[in-house]
Homo-oligomer: 402 residues x 2
């Protein structure tokens, strides 16, 4: 072969200066973890072996891939194999709820290396909460023997609407002091890497999709907790919508109406009737004191007939609204998560009962309605995956390497 | 440069055999129509100039690109420029409605070169309708001086649910004889090229997006005619959903309910209340004979107060359902099309009135609700674009060239 690293530096065009360009696309392909030889990569990409060799060198130098043994040979020296190295960098992830915060450090494959959970009131405001977050991040990094130089980025989920492009909360109802706060900029300034922010339901959708349904093209993740919301995956990609407001199920109107006034000011919103907060209030009225969806779950698990009945009816009400969402979005999987989903099968049974009855047959013929399997961890895994996918996008890898 | 077409054929790897591989990705980039030099393409892609030269040769040989003059030079011989050649092939497109058929031949940029419209009853069944279509296709091709060898593919829209992957209608309510008919296979057999089939609303969404809103990431196209349906674009791509059933607005329940029984068997469906057929029936009851949405439009344009009132109320009813769709999907643009949209501003005024009142502020802050601008042609342009995008996908171009 005449094309080597030495000779490609022809006049006018410095190919070594371009070493990074295109390496990102090769890394994207290799993120499946499969070990491959240079020849296999050339065949897969249609690129010249010389180009592949150059990009492999760049990715090896950046540690994004590593040697992965030798392929079996049909004679002669067996060719070397290379594979994605998920330990090359680490991601930090945070999932902030109304009353708790969870942080984790993951490798580039989204595996949690260490995590931590605290009770934390999001209402303390961004300064307190983000300072808590940064302290925990440093502790976690130290606990796995990594430092800030190993960071690929930070992913954060917050319990309210977030403009994803700017990373700023937008009129978040339960987050006093956070409106329009530059969360992204604050974290980047303190930790020196890219930070992405999204609402908690979107990162749960990402986490559940990544770990449980990676091949499902169109998925809907419904969180039923203090409030009700959903995250939509279209063609395997989060559909955030124009303002990042997509998936807002909580304020859709129940078809059978309701007189209950919602915190948004309208009546008949799903959230005002079927959320954990709404059920807790109703049970309290019935003489069964409950303050939160956790209390509702405890009552239901304790066998309270009233609580079981209320949870099942909430499932039916959610099903009424989901039936419309199914006609509109036609997902192949609906995952029901959030704290109220832990009340057992009653919630999901109510959902299934109504969705399969109300939706058009074509849209439900292969529809699966399942409980979240990732549970508590959906959010942090999703937050990590969000920033890893962003940071390992071909153009970003090219820029990082060159 | 030492890398020429002669020397790259090293032992073991025949690079000329790979000539096609990767050319498709280059063509995708060049489809913007911009003339570029080899050096510019190398800089844009990060590929070696030798690789670019090879792919340019392959695309020139297949006629997909052509010379496009010379760039200005800073000295020496000015470098040649190349640009996408939309005349390389042609696409055939058909938009079949309940009572009409429209066919067109377009270039690879989706420009209509010739078209034809006939009154045609889709209920005559697939044999009659598809024979009509194929005859018209041959006439159109002849009229622009092209033959079957010039075809890149065929795109077809049908007025009912279609399983896009197989190109077969699925229980289409107004298409007797079409259920599960292999439209795709029939056309491929008779014309020898790939055929893609979708429902009429999806191709209208594609056509409107392609011609009017190419940069809108999240768009919703609502067709209001005999029935009511919608097509959703997510990240600039049609969101068909798991069974191709996404966008089914017509059978969502009106929040305020209704006793009118829909053809689907439920009561309170939007389509049973606000479609052209429903309005025509209501006006007839009021002593204003109308058989179709066209009749309703004629009455409204003639100044009938009853018809104007009915159209505006239909807009409000559609708005009630769209408000939920906006919360769920958060589009940046909603386009209202279909025959009833031709009743003027009354329909869209009703839609706007309710959507801006009922939807959450965040989701409507930049939302535009506009009339279709492509009108009658949205469908055939969308059908053409659907098959052109498919046939010019990098992998297909690579296969075609190699």
């Amino acid at each position: 072969m005449c094309l080597t690293r030495e000779v490609v530096e022809g006049p006018g065009v410095n190919y070594l200066g371009d070493a990074g360009a295109g390496a990102g696309a090769l890394l994207r392909l290799m993120r499946d973890g499969q070990p491959r030889t240079r020849a296999e990569l050339a065949a897969l990409t249609g690129l010249a072996r010389s180009t592949i060799a150059q990009r492999i060198d760049a990715l090896l130098a950046a540690d994004f891939i590593g040697p992965a043994g030798e392929a079996t040979s049909t004679g002669g020296r067996p060719p070397a194999q290379f594979a994605f190295n998920p330990s090359a960098r680490v991601a930090l992830a945070a999932d902030v709820g109304a009353t708790h915060g969870r942080v984790a450090v993951t490798d580039l494959a989204g595996h949690v290396l260490a995590e931590h959970r605290d009770d934390l009131d999001v209402g303390l405001g961004p300064d307190t909460v983000l300072r808590w977050m940064i302290e925990r991040f440093h502790e976690l990094l130290a606990s796995v023997g990594r430092g800030p130089a190993d960071l690929i980025g930070i992913g954060v989920g917050l319990p309210g609407p977030v403009e994803h492009s700017s990373g700023r909360p937008v009129n978040p109802p339960i987050m006093p002091g956070w409106d329009n706060f530059d969360v992204q900029g604050y974290l980047r300034e303190h930790l020196g890497v890219v930070a992405l922010v999204d609402n908690d339901v979107n990162i749960m959708a990402l986490g559940e999709h990544f770990t449980q349904w990676p091949t499902a093209e169109h998925m809907m993740f419904v969180k039923v907790a203090t409030g009700i919301g959903s995250g939509l995956m279209s063609h395997g990609r989060l559909h955030r919508g124009a303002q990042g407001a997509a998936g807002d199920l909580g304020h859709l109107q129940l078809p059978h109406g309701s007189d209950i006034v919602c915190r948004c000011g309208n009546t008949g919103c799903l959230e005002a009737v079927a959320s954990g907060a709404a059920i807790a209030a109703r049970l309290t009225d019935q003489g069964l004191p409950a303050k939160s969806s956790q209390d509702v779950v405890a009552l239901a698990r304790g066998g309270s007939v009233e609580a079981l009945h209320a949870v099942r009816q909430a499932g039916r009400d959610i099903g009424e609204v989901l039936a419309a969402a199914v006609s509109l979005f036609n997902p192949s999987v609906i995952v029901i998560g959030g704290s109220l989903a832990r009340a057992g099968e009653h919630l999901i049974a109510g959902v299934r009962e109504v969705v399969y009855r109300r939706s058009l047959p074509l849209a439900t013929q292969d529809l699966r309605i399942v409980q979240s399997r990732t549970g508590d961890r959906a959010g942090i895994i999703g937050a990590a995956v969000m920033v890893i996918d962003h940071a390992l996008a071909p153009a970003h890898v090219d820029a990082l390497i060159s």
